[in-house]
């Protein structure tokens, strides 16, 4: 019996006159890769923000691993196992790649009121960080300043940081955004290997990535989820076709 | 000291008058904050420049009104020169840089004034036609000059309201306070807008300074004393909002004035007079900061945040 890891009920969020989230219901099953797609302005970013804990919903509830996390802030959700990557690359630019991941390890391990020992000398932080960096393919770039990494490498670093917190669920906000063809295919392959081990919620515009990775897809339009199902189901859904392709859609 | 109705009325009007001074300073500062995202510690220096220029022009022309009238455009000019020469490069920088750089300007202006006019406080005499008292209520005389300040304040508030709600410039100002990038993207000449807004703020500060001459000490550093209170006004009122500046200014002006006047006697009814004598003034000066702390705690965006900013 598949367990629901993330359950969203009636999530609503309004910005002045704009209803960005309109009574959203969503279930993410443990082990699945669930993609959220929709045209620009559909409210995907707002949804991610509320799932991650950056935005407070006006109404509704979010349950994660059986707990009501609606009132929990982002750090707390992260410590509970909900990791995220950002749409616009957000890393610690003045630290090395290894430092970045080590910080994520440190955040997850806790015990941070230590004032004497140099954190960079702690094997308990550096070794796991190194392992994660290797796993995303950045092992050789460990000592490079994050600001000096290529754009694609920075996106990989984001994922490495998320993974270093040993998450139960990975919230990926447009992971292949801004990547060239080779880089995005590489990322998709990596995520494809990853999906067996971890539950993923994926917001993406790149349809190749979505259809090759997603077990299920939810389609958002104007703040509402209009359809949820497997890729073939969503492909053939009339409302979805109308929303994306206009009235006269050829199959 | 016996607390009479006349005294309360007089202090209330004083609070209003002080509120007007704060409003004139706060209006300019909040616009600069809100539209240009610029922290200007040197705003108080423009107030000081206005005061000194008004005094100088009044002495030269023999007329207080002429002195004030000349001081306004002069301060406006100083403001624009400062903006173009020193401040433009700072718009892109972070707030720390702006704070430090404008702090450097404060040091410069204070010393410049000291070089020209010396460090001792200079006093401007009240203009003769405003030297008397007016009868606010039977038996309640009030200094005509202070009443004049209140009237000027109301007039400026109305003019600003007209400017902001009824003119194109005002529309751009409101848009800029809400969403700076959008205004720029829509093709409005941002540079010119910034300079105009800054100039407007300088003129208002200059007006406040010109009116301050006869009733407050005119000396180097006078700008900083009032500046902190102006920041409190903006925090309470909401950054970028003129309405907030107005409400905040009245609140702060009243709280400060009434606090200084009545906290000591009020305390004396609860604790011993000698203790109240000590604690009263100390607490009175703290009142507005406690207010600000409370607002920041409960409603950090201020009482009347500019639309779209919360």
């Amino acid at each position: 019996m598949a367990e629901t890891l993330l359950a969203v009920r009636g999530l609503s969020k309004r910005f002045g006159g704009l209803l960005a989230s309109d009574r959203i219901d969503l279930d993410v099953v443990r082990g699945e890769t669930h993609a959220i797609i929709g045209p620009n302005g559909a409210g995907k970013t707002t949804l991610i923000g509320q799932l991650a804990g950056d935005l407070r919903p006006d109404a509704g509830a979010i349950r994660f691993a059986g707990r009501d996390v609606t009132g929990f802030d982002a750090p707390l959700r992260s410590r509970l196992g909900l990791a995220r990557s950002f749409q616009i690359t957000s890393i610690f630019r003045d630290f090395s790649a290894l430092d970045n991941v080590a910080l994520a390890v440190q955040a997850h391990r806790g015990g941070n009121f230590r004032f004497w020992r140099s954190a960079r000398d702690e094997r308990a932080l550096r070794e796991p960080a190194r392992v994660v960096l290797e796993s995303v393919g950045l092992g050789a770039r460990a000592g490079v300043l994050a600001a000096n990494l290529a754009h694609g490498e920075q996106r990989q670093l984001e994922i490495a940081m998320a993974l270093a917190t040993e998450p139960r669920l990975l919230l990926l906000d447009e992971p292949v955004a801004g990547m060239g063809l080779d880089e995005s295919q590489q990322m998709v392959r990596f995520l494809g290997a990853l999906k067996r081990r971890i539950t993923i919620v994926l917001v993406e515009h790149d349809m190749d990535a979505v259809f090759s990775l997603a077990d299920r897809i939810s389609v958002m339009v104007y703040g509402r989820i209009i359809a949820t199902g497997t890729p073939p189901e969503v492909r053939s859904n009339a409302e979805v076709r109308r929303a994306y392709l206009g009235e006269d859609a050829t199959p | 000291m016996t607390v009479t109705v006349a005294l309360v009325l007089e202090q209330t009007l004083n609070g209003l008058q002080y509120g007007v001074m704060l409003f004139l300073m706060a209006a300019g500062l909040t616009l600069v904050f809100g539209i240009m995202n610029f922290v200007n510690l040197a705003h108080g220096s423009l107030y000081m420049v206005g005061a000194y220029l008004a005094t100088a022009f009044a002495a030269w022309s023999g007329s207080f009104v002429l002195g004030a009238a000349l001081a306004l455009p002069a301060t406006l000019l100083v403001g624009i020169v400062v903006e173009v020469v020193a401040l433009r490069t700072l718009y892109e920088r972070d707030h720390l840089d702006q704070v430090l750089a404008t702090f450097g300007l404060i040091l410069f202006f204070n010393e410049l004034i000291a070089i020209i006019w010396g460090r001792a406080a200079i006093y401007t005499s009240l203009p003769p036609f405003l030297g008397g008292h007016i009868r606010v209520l039977p038996g309640v005389p009030y200094p005509a000059y202070r009443a004049g300040i209140i009237l000027v304040g109301v007039a400026v508030a109305v003019l600003l309201w007209v400017l902001v709600t009824r003119t194109r410039l005002g529309m751009r100002i409101r848009a800029g306070a809400s969403n700076r990038t959008m205004v720029s993207a829509l093709g409005v000449n941002i540079r010119l807008l910034y300079t105009l807004v800054f100039g407007l703020g300088a003129a208002l500060a200059g007006l406040a300074g010109a009116m301050a001459g006869p009733i407050y000490a005119v000396q180097p550093g006078m700008g900083e004393a009032i500046l902190i209170q102006v920041f409190v006004v903006i925090v309470i009122g909401g950054i970028g909002s003129i309405r907030g500046a107005m409400v905040g200014a009245i609140v702060v002006g009243m709280a400060d004035t009434l606090g200084r006047a009545f906290l000591k006697p009020m305390l004396a009814t609860v604790i011993s007079p000698p203790a109240a004598d000590k604690a009263g003034p100390a607490l009175a000066s703290m009142v507005i900061y406690l207010l600000m702390a409370a607002v920041l705690f409960f409603r950090p965006e201020g009482l009347f945040p500019a639309r779209g900013r919360s």
Binding site: A52, D54, D73, A74, P75, L76, S78, A83, F86, S90, I91, F92, D94, F95, S96, D99, L103, A104, Q106, A107, H108, N112, F113, F115, W116, R117, S118, A119, L145, M161 | L90, R93, H95, L96, D97, V99, L100, A101, F103, G104, F108, F109, E111, L112, A114, I115, E224, I228, F231, V232, V235, K278, A282, S285, M286, Y289, M292, A293, L296, P300
Partner: protein, 315 residues
Amino acid sequence: MLISRRTIVLGVAGLLLALVPPIAALTNQPFYVDLFRRMMIFAIAAVSLDLILGYGGMVSFGHAAYLGIGAYAVGIPAFHGIDNGFLQWSLAIVTSALTALVIGAISLRTSGVYFIMITLAFAQMLYYLGISLETYGGDNGMRLAARSKFGGPIDLHQPMVFYYVVLAILVLFLVLGGRLVESRFGMVIRAAKSNEPRARAIGFSPFRYKLTAFVIAGGAGGLAGALLANQTEYLTPEFMHWTRSGEIMFMVILGGMGTLVGPVIGAVVLLLLEDVLSALTAHWQIILGPLLVLVVLFAKRGLFGLLLGAASRDG
């Protein structure tokens, strides 16, 4: 063994500072002991500010308040005949740390320009409080009844002894500070400064760490204040005025923020500059003001940053 440029600068600086008293004695210029001691006291204050400003990104415009509290923590007991140094200096550290706890707990709920304003406002509050203390001089301030007594060989009335006490404290702060910023705790602070949303996303709740850093910096500032009171033998509420906070901030920026050593250089250079300029003209501030503007516009990384050159970008 690789010796970094930073260590070399530190070593040279420490050595030079240690040599000042003997050289001053040899050349019969005791004034320099006084001057350099004053510089080191402000260097201690600047280093304490650098912890939260340079490493934590907290633009506290009220840091001078802690110097004032520390000074009065020495002055007020001395006024009442209590001149035990251990007691006074502990009081200085504890009271300023507690004040920082209260101010920080409220201020750190805000950020950006609000944070700057609220720290400024709190400092002004304390300044007015100082002025209202009529028993202790009000806005005229008061003379220090006697320098702090420690017993034994540590007699602060001996200029050289006092000098080495200050130097020892400065070195101690630099060493402790150096360990602090590289520790786990330091890493959290620096990560929060580098990218706060990112720090939160990986699971750090920055508030508690920032508050702790704020308290540490406040306590350290209090100790600097205690030293200052002993140095000047006169204390006034002016110690707490926000323009003094600006001066200390200037020292940190001029020297190079986020380096711990930079602020020491900044303090020395700025005070030397003030000394030299004030001999030239009573209106030296008119040069200092624009100088600050220029430093901010063009030399943001400060003197130490220039010294280190590109080598300082290794995170």
